[in-house]
Subunit: 222 residues, 2 copies
Amino acid sequence: MGNIVTVERQILRKNDDIAAENREIFRRHNLFVFNLLSSPGSGKTSILEKTIEKMVPKYRLAVVEGDVQTDLDAQRISRFDVPVVQIVTKGGCHLEANLIQNALKNLELDQLDLLVIENVGNLVCPSNYDLGEALKVVVVSTTEGDDKPLKYPKMFRVSEVMIVNKIDLLPYVDFSLENVRKNALQINPNLQIFETSCRTGEGIEQWAAWLAEKVETSRSGN
Amino acid sequence: MGNIVTVERQILRKNDDIAAENREIFRRHNLFVFNLLSSPGSGKTSILEKTIEKMVPKYRLAVVEGDVQTDLDAQRISRFDVPVVQIVTKGGCHLEANLIQNALKNLELDQLDLLVIENVGNLVCPSNYDLGEALKVVVVSTTEGDDKPLKYPKMFRVSEVMIVNKIDLLPYVDFSLENVRKNALQINPNLQIFETSCRTGEGIEQWAAWLAEKVETSRSGN
């Protein structure tokens, strides 16, 4: 298996080079970019919708949608007046930096303050691929069990933010906010944590305020 | 990228060879084997627990647990009096046939009727890896959205069974049993579908009865 590992390393090194180029492009345009990650069905697209509602029109926002097969998520987002680029990986389990670089050709980067990349639903593979984003936001929902940070640690280690979503379902599931916090901070003590419900809107304000501050900083060229 | 695709194909071919060996081993021992698949937090381990409760002691059952990092699931299963072999993939996003073949060395196959493989939580990558199992069972929970079969079609195409889990949460989520059935059958018209709640026990009886029939057939050498 030695050979195979070598090949994987080369792919990752290549990816890191392209990610560095992407990062330089984003910096040049004072564009704040985050990568939204989770397993399928945690509510990435719902959080994206709520984020768009809060950020537009104050900030100029665009979306890159990553999906294995369909453009269902891009269709959901298309009801907003924001540019959306759909990447269909055709079975691929994660986005890579070159896919993002190609997608950027369809966007007017000078006309944007914030770019959100919604990754393929997968709590494992995307954690290995830097896209050039400023930060990774991992979403975990209350229906998935509070042990997820321990079971899929790399994703929580490489993320700067964890959003615990679907807190409206807390009365009906075996899930402890205290435990998920403890488990996540054990993996990554610097995690910024938000608790949200896209159904009730709870917690969205706090997340959006935090994000706005990041966008402001980036827009001012710092 | 031509080279890389070639390498992947070689890995898959090798995997298919080992999977064929596994299948022959299972056949020789009249052992029924299924592979339990889903995204993280859909309730694979809970369904496994309920399945063990129904099948033991009538059938002699063992479990192979696949996890990225921890042995938390194996610990949960260890309260039952069944052999459990834990595979930790150390970041790997799926199980492969050679990992299963190694795990088999820890089991007395002649003393078993049923082997359950709980795969890594991932709705994408494991769909590409035959393990030699008799069938794949994909679990989707009512909190994940009824569009999942369309968005992750390969997993539903290669599975013989879909279990829709957490139906006790239906009153609190935007999920239609009718839609998920329709979407799944559009991808794979032959899917056998069960609807379960591990909290209330609803639907477990039907699933276990269906499974018992499969085990009986396998045990009789057919």
